[in-house]
Subunit: 254 residues, 8 copies
Amino acid sequence: MNEETLRALLESITRGEQSVDDAVSKLKNLPFEDIGFAKVDHHRQLRCGFPEVVYCEGKTVEQVAAIFSRCAATEGNVLATRASQSVFDAVSATNPQATYHEAARVITLRKTDAKPSAGTIAVVSAGTSDIPVAEEARITAEIMDQRVTAIYDVGVAGIHRLLAHRAALTEANVIVVAAGMEGALPSVVAGLVDCPVIGVPTSVGYGASFGGLAALLAMLNSCGSGVTVVNIDNGFGAGYAAALINRRCRDRDP
Amino acid sequence: MNEETLRALLESITRGEQSVDDAVSKLKNLPFEDIGFAKVDHHRQLRCGFPEVVYCEGKTVEQVAAIFSRCAATEGNVLATRASQSVFDAVSATNPQATYHEAARVITLRKTDAKPSAGTIAVVSAGTSDIPVAEEARITAEIMDQRVTAIYDVGVAGIHRLLAHRAALTEANVIVVAAGMEGALPSVVAGLVDCPVIGVPTSVGYGASFGGLAALLAMLNSCGSGVTVVNIDNGFGAGYAAALINRRCRDRDP
Amino acid sequence: MNEETLRALLESITRGEQSVDDAVSKLKNLPFEDIGFAKVDHHRQLRCGFPEVVYCEGKTVEQVAAIFSRCAATEGNVLATRASQSVFDAVSATNPQATYHEAARVITLRKTDAKPSAGTIAVVSAGTSDIPVAEEARITAEIMDQRVTAIYDVGVAGIHRLLAHRAALTEANVIVVAAGMEGALPSVVAGLVDCPVIGVPTSVGYGASFGGLAALLAMLNSCGSGVTVVNIDNGFGAGYAAALINRRCRDRDP
Amino acid sequence: MNEETLRALLESITRGEQSVDDAVSKLKNLPFEDIGFAKVDHHRQLRCGFPEVVYCEGKTVEQVAAIFSRCAATEGNVLATRASQSVFDAVSATNPQATYHEAARVITLRKTDAKPSAGTIAVVSAGTSDIPVAEEARITAEIMDQRVTAIYDVGVAGIHRLLAHRAALTEANVIVVAAGMEGALPSVVAGLVDCPVIGVPTSVGYGASFGGLAALLAMLNSCGSGVTVVNIDNGFGAGYAAALINRRCRDRDP
Amino acid sequence: MNEETLRALLESITRGEQSVDDAVSKLKNLPFEDIGFAKVDHHRQLRCGFPEVVYCEGKTVEQVAAIFSRCAATEGNVLATRASQSVFDAVSATNPQATYHEAARVITLRKTDAKPSAGTIAVVSAGTSDIPVAEEARITAEIMDQRVTAIYDVGVAGIHRLLAHRAALTEANVIVVAAGMEGALPSVVAGLVDCPVIGVPTSVGYGASFGGLAALLAMLNSCGSGVTVVNIDNGFGAGYAAALINRRCRDRDP
Amino acid sequence: MNEETLRALLESITRGEQSVDDAVSKLKNLPFEDIGFAKVDHHRQLRCGFPEVVYCEGKTVEQVAAIFSRCAATEGNVLATRASQSVFDAVSATNPQATYHEAARVITLRKTDAKPSAGTIAVVSAGTSDIPVAEEARITAEIMDQRVTAIYDVGVAGIHRLLAHRAALTEANVIVVAAGMEGALPSVVAGLVDCPVIGVPTSVGYGASFGGLAALLAMLNSCGSGVTVVNIDNGFGAGYAAALINRRCRDRDP
Amino acid sequence: MNEETLRALLESITRGEQSVDDAVSKLKNLPFEDIGFAKVDHHRQLRCGFPEVVYCEGKTVEQVAAIFSRCAATEGNVLATRASQSVFDAVSATNPQATYHEAARVITLRKTDAKPSAGTIAVVSAGTSDIPVAEEARITAEIMDQRVTAIYDVGVAGIHRLLAHRAALTEANVIVVAAGMEGALPSVVAGLVDCPVIGVPTSVGYGASFGGLAALLAMLNSCGSGVTVVNIDNGFGAGYAAALINRRCRDRDP
Amino acid sequence: MNEETLRALLESITRGEQSVDDAVSKLKNLPFEDIGFAKVDHHRQLRCGFPEVVYCEGKTVEQVAAIFSRCAATEGNVLATRASQSVFDAVSATNPQATYHEAARVITLRKTDAKPSAGTIAVVSAGTSDIPVAEEARITAEIMDQRVTAIYDVGVAGIHRLLAHRAALTEANVIVVAAGMEGALPSVVAGLVDCPVIGVPTSVGYGASFGGLAALLAMLNSCGSGVTVVNIDNGFGAGYAAALINRRCRDRDP
């Protein structure tokens, strides 16, 4: 609700086109649906460009299933992250079209058939062990109707594997790079391209990796300009931000 | 050097248009200038879209002045960050057109007069104390020819101050948010808009702020989707990434 | 035992109303009950306003059951926190009126029927996943005879959900806010009200949440005045402190 | 602005008592004053019960002086924290009635002569070195018109010093305890009283004190119920929260 | 082997009383027994006053059983710490006199019947949950023939419980204090006595206890003089050091 | 591909000995094999002196088995680390000659019968509990055709055990030292020898060991010159680096 | 005040030997002297065996001088730690007999001429840079009338230097070991002797020493039994605890 | 002193060739020189291959000058690290041939004119700001008579600068890589060569670099095999270890 719509609403009152009670109701609250343990934010698609996403961890199976169904009753696609198999079982009982992506632990329900974006997001993983996080990013961006190119297992220990995919990197509007251990890959990628790079540190590693802290710090200190970072293992966050960027990009010259 | 230019180069050899020695030289190295203590990367503008930026900390005044002059001898604008007054004095001795931005500790030298971008970047600060970091972001983006709107001192302790600028936030293609202390502002901003938000934790605070760690962790754990993060006090990094995003954005419908 | 009672006791000796031995015994120790592995502090209700609370973690099931029964033998209500189902089974065997609150992992035994307080405590949760901690706070305050209003799932990613409950927040004498991830909610709430806010960081989150550390640091660095903080997931501590505050508050003007 | 005032405003429009433009202006923004580098939140006193407090660190001397003067132009008392002598010199140039509290590094300007509260806040320090932080709490509470009792240098290494002040502790409505090193004092105090205790860890100590972290963690893990905690060295925060609590407390029976 | 015995050995060579080969062998190595995966240090009793202690964690059941049996074949008492039930089963198969202390997870085998020391060690626990660690200290000291007084559940939240045992504390030559959470008890105890206090932080607690780190830091920063500290949950280390101290203490005047 | 081979390749084009297409293909990429979820780096043996090593953690059993088989199809020996028994079962199904080293959790497949090196690597463990990590180092070095001397359980608490092996230490070209707890052994060893020492901190310990952090920091701060360090529990890394050093060492004078 | 003296006091009241008022005064408080900003604990010598020690950091020069003078007015020796030269100047103005130990930053004032203890404390430093901390320990123990042997610069990088002082180590009743960097020395010393060892980590080192954290963790994880630890750079604490131990030790057989 | 020399010594006694007293003296101690505050370890060159190095930090100017002179009185070259200009002034007063390397803060005194090694060490820095640390490594290795190739400012943000020096990297026997910020360079270098790589994290960076911690963790978690690590900014340690490796390397085939 911006100034213009506010003015329009107020003028409609002075013209008697709607009652004060209606205006109070409209002005007081933006819409959400209160189901007791959750307040489902149906307004988010308008405000933020994508419906509320269901984060499953810390919720009971019943809570997730109920929230998912409320989201599914609206128009947009639905995404649930950090979902276990048992969560999916409960969700699919009432939403049989929902799909479970096991490696990424993500549930999607596609309800629209929008054409994918013209421009592409590149999703890159340093190692095979980083693929689940990269997949979470890829699936998130795709359910938001973005075109994604996946380039996996191109870590810095064999830099020629990365250089072999230079063309795909150069074509992307934004690149998501998932890497654990020393988290060096986003720096190297950022040195090769002229688009933003979103680093996703993964918890792959052991000992002084401290659950991904090493990779996180490395990415935050990247000497490569244009790198921003999301939380450890937060493939969803990277995919979401990449989608927000890509859908605003103009088509490039052929 | 991509596959096409590689093929062209090789074909020119078979046609005798250039010697093997020339080709070896071109194939072996991408261009940089070696001045002993530094290898100035003149190729970066082609590769990454902006010339190499001079990070002054840890370099002697003489080293910065020399590198700055080499950069100034190329065509693009020049940017030096974390510059003290004494560094600027040395730089301006040989580059009298250079400008010093004291609060942000940044030196700029504008050599092109490109038109600013149509779309805008919003740069937001939570408090007055966060302004120097926000200014580093603003100046970085502007020297990269992007249009910036600055919105300062709108932290969450008085949320109405932020809400009053909702229109400017909504118009931006990307928003940089600098905040210290609890670092909550990027989460709140991300909940209001549908564009990417880049959080810059600042070292403003004391005690358990741990030099900005509190704000950094808060931003990495943001419940607001679309938030990515740069290093503590890294206004430059945020401004650079925002510029990379904004210059790819298509013009919005009027 | 303050100066007055001390003086009275001593004077009663000089009057021969009680023996030196009795006085020694009274002066030497405040009352507690030694059951070997525990010294149950029956004096606490007089001293601190609520009986000793049983913290179950690290105690054997048998130890908890024994301590609980000793507490139940006094006059006040009994509260046991961090109780597993098997602990409750042992407790309820000898205390069949005890109630188990599964989500909050709390056992209560109400033995008095005091009227709830006139003033209210608001207990707020940022997300659905934070509800167990919020519930621990709510149940703690209620067993201490305080009136509680629960407002759940109103995190900062959709700030309108919070603003819709502004009236309830404004009416409270003290507000408990449980939030994980970036822990921003107490700051925002404190900016809206004129009563103390107790932040409870929760361990909801992953990666750089570091088990709730991110939210803890955020709350400690809150830019909102009037915020104090308890340990991560310590709903009990927040509820207890809120009860101590609320029961001292005068009734507000109607 | 609550539902009632909103309804009243809207009805006044329908009655033509005020124009749409006026209503837009009132509805759009809560009041604050924009002075470029700061947005002074004059609404805070209504909303939160005390005017905005000026946090001086990270601001230039000129910025603090300007903000202070704007605050002084309103009706309430003014408080500035973390103020150096040079900041005070600038402030007092235009506000000659302002007072500098050197140990606490606080500036106050009393403009009202409200009667102090009937109930008291006890402010306790563990050692002599903790007094500056305790003083910041005391001055904050007093400028908010609360009555304070100061009890200094009663740390746990000589527990009899604390026990000698038991009466003053028992009379307080809320107790602020500033302690560095091992931060044990709030736990001991909380075991003696039935009112809320606010722990302020101080950075007094060395080595594994880690700038107050040891005391902070100790207080967060207090086994004494009713303890909440503020940031390291945050005497202001503790005094402010204590004032919010104390002014709501009913007078106790004589 | 000190200078005197060295001189004696060398002189015996010059007198031909023993061969060069024998002397080489004696001079080259102090005695230990090599059983492949371990080098059992039978010399330690002479050197350090107690046989090598078997730390079970990280060793296979077979390794522990073998090392234990080698130790049992010497003259002294045997102690194995961090032993699971299955380790004890393997040990007792060949050492039926061995005893398992379940709470403390310790195995002892008493082979001497030395009279306990005249002086006493006090072992104190803050809460019931700290008892397993305190027991590890008690059993360690007792198998080293020291007299121990156990005082459990006397934490600072009810300081009168501790004060009631002041006589026992005052009589001890050294006091071991096991405490989790805020770890305040050693400071308070050290303020009451004139003997050394060994603090054992325990991992009892949650959240910002960080597995005992809070208690560890508190004890290291104790304002009570005479406090030294061992590792988190290291009841063995505290009991061992206390035993080394106590056995050197002279008998006190009757 | 170095400058010489590049020149040769280019000259062969000018002579028409190979087509431009072939040269493009050779110049563009160094060889690797893309099997979808992994890009097996067959070029590594040429480049780095040993084939790619399979790190099993975070990969599915099927992924490891597939990568292992591809590696086994080349000429060199194969090494897989952090392998569980179930991983080995899958690997050995198609590679029956593979061997599982249970304590070290390593799979080896020897395909060459190279003579071990003349010079030796000493692998030392501080305690019995550190042996699995030491074994990972030993097996890694041996599969790389290096001669290894193992010296286990010679920690600093009984320094004579170490001194007894001084000859073996002095003979080595490089020494790997695995130690947990306080990680002191590399410092002591480095003070006895004139060859490089590689410290491997292990996660053996508890409490303030913080999973090996204590040992890691100790080794990084070693006062013994010539000590370098690898990640916690990274026996593989130490063994690999030791092998790289040892195979370059000249034979020593007899 | 123990049970006996309590009984005696009470009986004297019944016999009319002293008034109730006197008894109230004696029973209510243990003695301390309140000088406003400090409560000097004159009772400590009786209770803890040594007068209160003045910790100078965080106190103003005036405060230290005042407290020191009050302590000097009692009978015992006086010790002030962490004293700068300017603090000493103020102290010596009114206490001309006071001595300043510059390296250790300690002020002593000897008022008694007690004979030093028969048994000795060994104070050991790993390097020359650790000497200031070792000296603080030595001076503390000596002002408490204990005999001290100093052995400096015997770190583990040249273990023979330590072994050369084995006799002095063996003779001591307790050993203080100050070491920075990797903090290995207490472990090695503890392996050589049968008396308690008190480790003092120092902040000597850089980088991953983290201000002495590395040495602290190492000592806490010592594999040598009988090691306890004090705070980083806390020479005072180690010397004090060592003095408490040594003065209880019986004379050894000649 | 090994078994052979021991046997020879003992046999000389039996033959009366030397006295028992002489033998006691030789057997008891390895040689060092005790100058009060330091025990200069003249034996180290024999034992470890290079004389003791003087670490200046934490020592007074006088102490350094005295130790340096003692070292200079032996035969080998002398090296002092972390030396300020004022330290050098004192040293050069009595050692006029000593040289000060300002950037590296190192003093050297060359007393031998040994021929540099045939094989080379490559010392690489990521940025210009890392050069001081790299120089400390270079000077250390050179004073130990090793040949060094320096390659500076070749960080991963412009990977072509590194690739241009591939030949020099391939020729080295061991490579030292100094890098701050994200510390990625050692991983990339290790992927290009077949020799050991020693990473030196530098404290270059800010914010979440945490004084070099980010680079340190990155290097410890390197995915490139053959990487070992030294302390932050420890150029000396890296150069020393590299020298130990290089001097053992056999000459390579021409």
